[in-house]
Every structure is written in structure tokens, then in C-alpha cells.
């Protein structure tokens, strides 16, 4: 009897305590226990070392207010950052809590286990429909990084130049596109109508991947074997087309020194060329339609990628963010990535809340839902087309993830194409060198 009374008292006391706690919890932010539970990483500072401009200070302050996590954002140039990541991670030392995950290095990071797998913090299966480019950061089921913007290669055309050359309909396939280029040249609308960045740098590699995709192939098989060695293969024909385009004068002579897409877009914006086969999505509203930076305002439009037989794919080129395994504050870093990539913020970085809230140079949101928000608010030029391309046509360059030795592979690609364009080596020699880099 006595024991049961004591038990009853204990249960009653526990119940009262539970009820009071629940009641306290209902009061929301004023509840210190709930508050602490919702801010488990308060007081920590996340060091973000990223080759990207910072989000607006006011946005970062809001994040700190909500989570108690401070963010120290350092913007470094892309090349230096890659060296930093390699140096720090090969020495197993801390350098940042979050940093860039370049899609091209995902295979390498996966093999070397340099980044914390994000599968247990994010659900790739449920996110994939909203983030189509998630697959660019997934290798053998492991999510190495989260895409924080959406970028894919698109074909842009100066429709005014095309009309002046008597081209009434936009090219529907690659053969027609090629014929149109020659027509533009012959009609003296533009002596060098095509832009290709031919310096031995990453931009040239990307261009080759995109043309290869358009011609109906891919560079490497799912088991990372070369798919471009046969003269009839898409990769071989794409390389030959790039080289011939330069040699035949379709591409301005100066482009042999053109290091990357920025310069090529400047060429397009100043009407030095009339079309870019492999341009970045989202640049019409940020470059070509901006009077201060362009002389072709209202003239440039996206067209479906002219493919081998109909519309070709648009290869992914997104930026990603991840957590190095040497990070000090993994939990806080996850919180930050979750906030940075959430649908509302993704739309915000692209201008949904006005120019004060954008990240400078942010191309497009990584999420379809965010892009739809921009489309509904009419904040993205040709936004509906871009959203459709993102949902239906964007493809990773390497479906099963890039090769672990991607950097060496890409260096062989761009060096060889550059040399072939200069005439130092033949197309077949360039192909052999690239294939040798794959085998090595």
C-alpha cells in the first residue's frame, strides 16, 4: 500500500513535470529548453571558404539570429581554392568548415574521402525532383556536396544577326546550326560568328563535352572508358568540329587565347560573335540584356540545344558546397548548407526579394521550386524555358560521376584541343593524347 502510494506520487510528480514542460514548450521561443534544442550549435562559427561572392550581410545576420551560428565567409579564387583543398586535405589539416565542391572533382573526393557524405543529413531521393543537378554531386550513391546554384550549358543566339543573314527559323539540329554559321559568315553579317574559348583551360573542356553531348554521345562510358577514339564517335566529331571551326575562321582568331566563358560572353555581349553553342544558362538577364555591359540588349535568346537529330542535352555545370572531413563544426556546417540551399533563399540569391538580396553573379537557383518562384514573379528572363530545360534536358557530363583523375584528364583535353586548333598536332593525335590521359 505504502509502495503503491509512493509510486503514485512519483508518477503524479512526473506527470506534472511533463505537463509543465510541454506547456513551457508551447510558449515557443521563450522556452529556454526548446530554444536550446532548436539552436544546438549556437556560439559556433562556421568558416566558409568559397570561390563565390558572399550572400548579403543582412541575410547572414538573419541566419546567425535564428541559429546562433556565426558565418565567416571568405571568397577566394577558384584555382587557389582547389590547390588549398588538395594541400590541406592531403595533409589532413583543417582549413574550413564548408567549402566548394566542384562537380568535376567529385569522383576524386569520393575516392579520397575528403568530404563528409551528406546522405544522412539530406535525402537525395526526395530532393532529386526539386534539385535535378544533385546527381552531379553523387558518386556510387554518396552525396559528396549539395548544389547551391544551377548552371547548365545552353545555346544562345543573336536572333537579330540570324535574321539579317536571312535565317528565318532557329536551328533545330546540329547540321542546320553548322549551316547557319556558314551562312552568317558568307552574308558578312559576322565574319566570325561562333564563340569558343580556345585557351588551354577548363572552359574549352566544357565546350567539348557539350558539343559531344549534342552529337549524341558522351565522353566516357559509365565504367570511365573513352568513347571518343573512333572517328565516327560523337567525341571525335565534336573535337574535329571545334578545330575546324577555328581553322576555317568561324571563330575569331583571338579566341585561341580566350581563357574562359566570361571573355566569350563579353564577345557575345559586344556582338563580336553571333552565337555561343555552349553558354551558361541565366546570362541573358545578367549580361546580354544589361545595357551597361551589352550592345545586344533584347537580341540574344536561348534555343534548344541543336542536337544530332533534334534537341540535344544541356550539360550540368553547377556549383556545389560540402563539408571537408577535417571540419571542426560539422553540425553547424550542415545547418548552414541547409539554410543556404533552402528554396526561399535560393530564389532570394537570384533576385526574388530585389537587388539588395542577391548574390552577385548568381546564375540560377539549384531548385526547380525556386526557379518557379522567380518565373511567377517575372524575375528571370526566359525563366519558363530555363525551368523546362533544368527539369527535362539537363544531364551530368559523367552519368556515374567524373573520373577520379578528372583534373589530369581535363588538362589533357584542353591542352590537346588547343594544340590541334593551333595546328601543332592533328585531330587524331589530340584524340590519342586524351585517351592516353584516361588510361593513365
Amino acid at each position: 500500500m505504502k509502495a503503491s502510494r509512493i509510486l503514485t506520487c512519483v508518477v503524479a510528480a512526473a506527470t506534472v513535470l511533463m505537463i509543465s514542460l510541454v506547456g513551457y514548450g508551447g510558449s515557443g521561443a521563450g522556452n529556454p529548453i526548446a530554444h536550446a534544442a532548436s539552436r544546438p550549435y549556437a556560439g559556433q562559427t562556421v568558416s566558409a571558404l568559397i570561390a563565390y561572392p558572399s550572400p548579403p550581410a543582412s541575410a547572414l545576420q538573419q541566419f546567425t539570429k535564428a541559429t546562433g551560428i556565426k558565418v565567416k565567409w571568405t571568397n577566394v579564387d577558384w584555382d587557389s581554392l582547389q590547390t588549398k583543398i588538395t594541400a590541406a586535405m592531403s595533409a589532413h589539416v583543417y582549413f574550413a568548415d564548408v567549402t566548394d565542391v566542384d562537380w568535376s572533382r567529385v569522383g576524386q573526393y569520393h575516392i579520397l574521402k575528403w568530404f563528409v557524405p551528406l546522405n544522412k543529413y539530406f535525402s537525395p531521393g526526395s530532393l532529386r525532383s526539386d534539385m535535378p543537378q544533385l546527381s552531379a554531386f553523387t558518386v556510387s550513391g554518396e552525396l559528396v556536396g549539395m548544389p547551391f546554384d544551377s548552371s547548365y550549358m545552353v545555346t544562345t543566339i543573336n536572333t537579330r544577326d540570324f535574321a539579317r543573314a536571312g535565317i528565318k527559323t532557329m536551328p533545330k539540329n546540329f547540321a542546320q546550326y553548322n549551316a547557319d554559321l556558314h551562312k552568317l559568315q558568307r552574308s558578312h553579317v559576322n565574319a566570325h560568328p561562333l564563340g569558343i574559348p580556345l585557351a588551354a583551360q577548363e572552359g574549352l573542356s566544357t565546350y567539348w563535352y557539350e558539343v559531344t553531348g549534342a552529337l549524341g554521345g558522351q565522353v566516357l562510358s559509365s565504367s570511365l572508358k573513352p568513347q571518343f577514339t573512333s572517328p565516327r564517335s560523337a567525341g571525335y566529331r565534336a573535337l574535329a568540329w571545334i578545330v575546324n571551326a577555328y581553322k576555317s575562321g568561324l571563330v575569331p582568331k583571338a579566341n585561341i587565347d580566350m581563357s574562359d566563358t566570361d571573355e566569350m560572353q563579353s564577345e557575345m555581349a559586344h556582338n563580336k560573335v553571333s552565337t555561343l553553342f555552349s553558354d551558361y544558362a541565366g546570362q541573358i538577364s545578367t549580361i546580354y540584356d544589361v545595357p551597361g555591359t551589352s550592345t545586344v540588349v533584347g537580341q540574344v535568346h536561348y534555343v534548344p540545344t541543336p542536337g544530332q537529330s533534334g534537341t540535344g542535352p544541356n550539360l550540368d555545370n553547377p556549383d556545389g558546397i560540402g563539408i571537408p572531413t577535417t571540419a571542426h563544426h560539422v553540425g553547424a556546417a550542415v545547418e548552414f548548407i541547409r539554410w543556404f540551399t533552402n528554396p526561399r533563399n535560393q530564389a532570394r540569391w537570384a533576385g526574388y526579394n530585389g537587388p539588395k538580396n542577391v548574390i552577385v553573379g548568381f546564375p540560377l537557383p539549384s531548385r526547380v521550386s525556386s526557379l518557379n518562384m522567380l518565373v511567377r514573379a517575372r524575375k528571370a528572363a526566359q525563366g519558363q524555358e530555363l525551368a523546362t530545360l533544368l527539369k527535362t534536358r539537363s544531364r551530368p557530363v559523367f552519368p556515374n560521376g567524373p573520373p577520379p583523375n578528372y583534373a589530369a584528364f581535363s588538362a589533357a583535353v584542353n591542352t590537346s584541343i588547343h594544340q590541334a586548333a593551333l595546328g601543332s598536332i592533328s585531330v587524331s593525335q589530340a584524340i590519342q593524347r586524351i585517351a592516353a590521359a584516361v588510361h593513365s
Partner: protein, 319 residues
Amino acid sequence: MREQTSGPPPDDPLQAAASAGVRTWRRPLALPRMRALPYLLVLPLMAVIAVLAVYPTALTFIDSLYHIDLLSPPQTFVGLQNYTDLFSDPDVATSWENTGLYVLFGVVLSTVLALIMALGLRDRFRGRAIMLAILILPWALPAVVEGVTWAWIYDPSFGVLNSLLHSLHVIQSYQLWISGNQVSSIFFIELVQVWQITPLSAVLILASLQTIPPELYEAARVDGATERFTLRSITLPLIRPGLSIAIVQAIVQSMNIFDQVYVLNGNALTGRSILMQTYLTAFANLNFGQGYALSFLVTIATVIVSVGILSFVYRTVEF
């Protein structure tokens, strides 16, 4: 004032001197101390060099004897395998060839230009201090900034160089300064570095020039020596210390050229320097073993060429 003492002088001369109020040093102890002093004075510097240069070089050499490829573990001892692999790599051979041209262009151009600048600045004139300050500016700029600036100058479409030469009717059409061929690419890339390293060479040579006593020139003038003779027989021999240091710094800089090549020429083999190749081997291919071997070879090559030049050009000069 020396103190006066009374009584017979002590037998020990040191004691005698001390008693006479003269500060003396005990000879047997003083000699080793005097000999050790120079070594003691350079010891901190030697320690710094040992920690920052000798130790890493030794470590680099040891690591170069291992297979250290992050994508192909494990790490194993391979002896000189990395070196033999490098010697049979055509890209490495091209990079060495390119680097030889960088050094040739860099040393010749920077030394000649620096000598001309130093001779121009030797005599005092109005605005000389401002000229010196302007002269040193390119040296203070980061190499990447210079690379980007010169990329605009060399731009084949709208670069200043093309525009200027075209307007002067020197060229009929806009030229491709970089990427045309190996020699022209290297020449124009190295020109950017020459622009950067010449000021320091000029200052080093100017410092040497200013140590030459004016009496020597006056005597030569009295003897009827021409300007050319004075330059060849007085100036050049007497500035050899400064000249040799200027040449060595030009060798070190041009042997290690990287930023300008990267900005102006990317990965292209036409202008790839040996340091660029080292970077690609280590940080792109992740083959650190070969990267260490190449770094070690670059260090050894730099030391050999520098010491060779020093022994050929450097002479002690005393007035």
C-alpha cells in the same frame, strides 16, 4: 683620464695595464671569442635558412624517392623511379626547354634594361627620387595582377599593343602575341616578368655604381678615355658584385615563373614552365612523389645555374 699608480710595475703586463687604468682583454681568451663572433652573428640567419630552405629541400628529396600518388596508394619506396619517369615524360622535357628560354630572355633583357636604367639614374638630377619611386612600382605588384594587366595589353582583339602598333602602321592587322608559337609565346610572357624584375636589378646595379669613386672617372677623362671605354673598362668591371646578384635574382625568378604563364597561357604546352608542370603533376594529377622529384630538380638546377653565373661574373672589388 688615465689613473696614475705608484710603486713598481707588476710582472704581468695585463695586470700592469689594468692597474694603469687601461681597459684590456686577456689575449688567450680574446682570440677564440673574436673568431667565433662572425659565426655567432650569422648563426640566426643560418638557422632560419636551415629551417626554411635546407630542411624542406632534404625532406623533398627523401619524399621524391617514394611513390606518393593519392589516387594510387599505398606509399612505397621506389628509389629513383620518379626521376627516371620524369626524364622520359615529353611534357616535362618541353617544360624544361621552355624554362630555358624563359631564363635566357629574362636574364638578358632584365640585365640590359636594368643597366641602362641604373646608368640613367646614377647622376643626381631634378626628379630623380620620383623616378626611382616610379621605377620600383612594377616590382611591388603581384605577378597575377601583372598577368591580368598584360593580358589586356596583349589582347588580340582590342589590346593596347595591337592598337598602338596598328595606328603607327608597324603592323597591318591585329596580331596574336601569345599562343602563336613557342618562342614568341615565351618571349611575350617573359616580357611581363622582365617588367617586374628589372626594377630590383636596376636598384642593385645602381647601388654598385654609386660605390665607384668619381676620381676614377676623372682620371679616365683626363687620360682621354671615351664613354664606351669608360663603361667597358671601369664601370662594368667594378659593378660585378651588384651585376652578379642582379643576374642571379633574374635567374631565380625566371626559372620559377608561374603566375604570368598561368594567366596568359593556361595549361598550353607552348609556354608551360617547369614550375607549372610541377604544379600540374602534384596538384592536378595528385602524383606528389613525381611532384617532389620535379621540385627537387628545379631547386638543383636553380642552384647550379646561379652558382655557375656567380663564379663567372662575381669578383671581389676593393677600392
